[in-house]
């Protein structure tokens, strides 16, 4: 039982052994180069589970050792015989100490059975928490580094975009120049046109003024040429016309 407790607390988070560990442990023991065989003398992992046992504490191997010679009952016969022999020959004397020992062992077994699992859980939890904390630190570091690398790369990528800025600015300048040039062309054409339009307009005005003047002059002369005699005749003629019209109506 003790073994189980120790095993499960000592062998936490078992993993496949990474290759770099061989390098590290070889480098950690430079003075042990006595021979050229593997220098990894320590086991890398504690066994996670205890070996198989019978009757709660006797290793399975001790039983299988007898099987070839004696069959499956042999080990029990041997054990019983051994105990009987020791007692019979008074090599082991049965006294109050036997009872004492049995009680102590019983108490120990009881204690381990009763408090072992709780202690195991507590110890596992403590160590797991510690490991988690250290891994939190590690992951934070790794994340931060990765982010810094990404940020640097992004900044480089952004800097590559400066060509776009200069392209755009050059393009703007070219377009502005071209616009100015076109505006000049347009101004020349418009000015030439304006000058000619001006001449046409001057001619038009001149003609209109001449025409108006002529009309006025003719009207004036005609009115001047009318005599009072003609006017009277004209009115009489009008009255006559009105009379004929009223007679007809």
């Amino acid at each position: 039982m003790f073994r189980r407790v120790v095993c499960s607390t000592g062998a936490l988070a078992l993993r496949a052994r990474p290759a770099y560990m061989a390098r590290v442990s070889a480098a950690a023991m430079p003075s042990m180069t006595f021979h050229t065989s593997s220098k990894d003398l320590m086991p890398y992992k504690m066994p996670e589970e205890g070996g198989k046992v019978r009757l709660g504490f006797i290793p399975e191997e001790w039983f299988t050792f007898f099987y070839n010679k004696t069959g499956v009952t042999g080990p029990y016969m041997f054990g019983t015989g051994l105990i009987l022999y020791l007692i019979n020959k008074e090599i082991y004397v049965v006294s109050h100490e036997l009872l004492h020992g049995a009680l102590i062992i019983g108490l120990l077994v009881y204690g381990v059975k009763k408090f072992g699992p709780a202690y195991t859980a507590y110890a596992d939890k403590t160590i797991n928490d510690q490991i988690e904390q250290t891994y939190d630190v590690k992951n934070a570091q790794v994340d931060a580094l990765q982010q810094s690398i990404d940020a640097e790369k992004k900044e480089q990528w952004r800097l590559d975009g400066r060509n776009m800025l200069f392209d755009a600015r050059k393009e703007n300048i070219a377009m502005q120049i071209e616009t100015a040039y076109r505006e000049r062309l347009h101004t020349v054409a418009a000015d030439v046109k304006k000058k000619m339009d001006y001449h046409i307009e001057v001619e038009n005005v001149k003609r209109r003024v001449q025409q108006e003047h002529m009309v006025e002059w003719i009207q004036k002369n005609v009115i001047q040429s009318i005599t009072p005699q003609q006017e009277k005749e004209n009115i009489a003629q009008c009255i006559r016309d009105l009379k004929t019209l009223s007679a007809r109506a």
């Binding site: 590690k138 990765q146 952004r158 100015a180």
Partner: protein, 160 residues
């Protein structure tokens, strides 16, 4: 003539916008709106002015020989192309910027290499649960001072 080239080039502002650092966003937007205004003005202006109908004017303009004279002069007139004084400055700036960018890139690569070295240290590290004290000291030499100050049992100076 330059007119062929001008305005043909396509500045991809959408792709450009992605590359603008957040702190230069306002400047970028100002440039963008300015460019768009310039472009609009440019595209609104036709390349050549409308051809003058000389025959129409020849019939109407009363001054003898004026139209012919104008036509001759108009076809002979050479409108000077505006001199480009700004592009040189921009190119100068570009050259400076290239230099700065190259410098920055070198520095940045250096920093990235540093980060990656550190990162490799973390990723190829022995898992914490498999570490011995000596390996921990080897992996994190910066904790040495503290370990000297507060040594663990059995207070054996293994850093020596």
């Amino acid at each position: 003539m330059a007119a062929r080239r001008v305005g043909q080039k396509f500045v991809d502002f959408a792709a450009f916008a992605e590359r603008v650092p957040p702190n230069q966003r306002a400047q970028f937007l100002a440039l963008k709106s300015k460019s768009e205004a310039i472009k609009a003005k440019f595209t609104a202006l036709p390349e050549k002015p409308k051809a003058i109908d000389w025959a129409y004017y020849r019939k109407r303009v009363p001054v003898a020989g004026l139209v012919d004279k104008f036509e001759k002069q108009y076809s002979a007139v050479n409108v000077p192309y505006p001199k480009d004084t700004a592009t040189a400055a921009v190119e100068e700036q570009e050259k400076q910027m290239d230099k700065l960018a190259a410098d920055f890139k070198v520095e940045s690569e250096k920093r990235i290499a540093e980060y990656e070295k550190e990162l490799a240290q973390w990723t190829t590290m022995i898992p914490f649960e498999d570490m011995t004290k000596e390996e921990f000291a080897e992996t994190f030499p910066e904790t040495l001072e503290q370990r000297k100050k507060y040594p663990h049992w059995p207070h054996y100076p293994y850093w020596e």
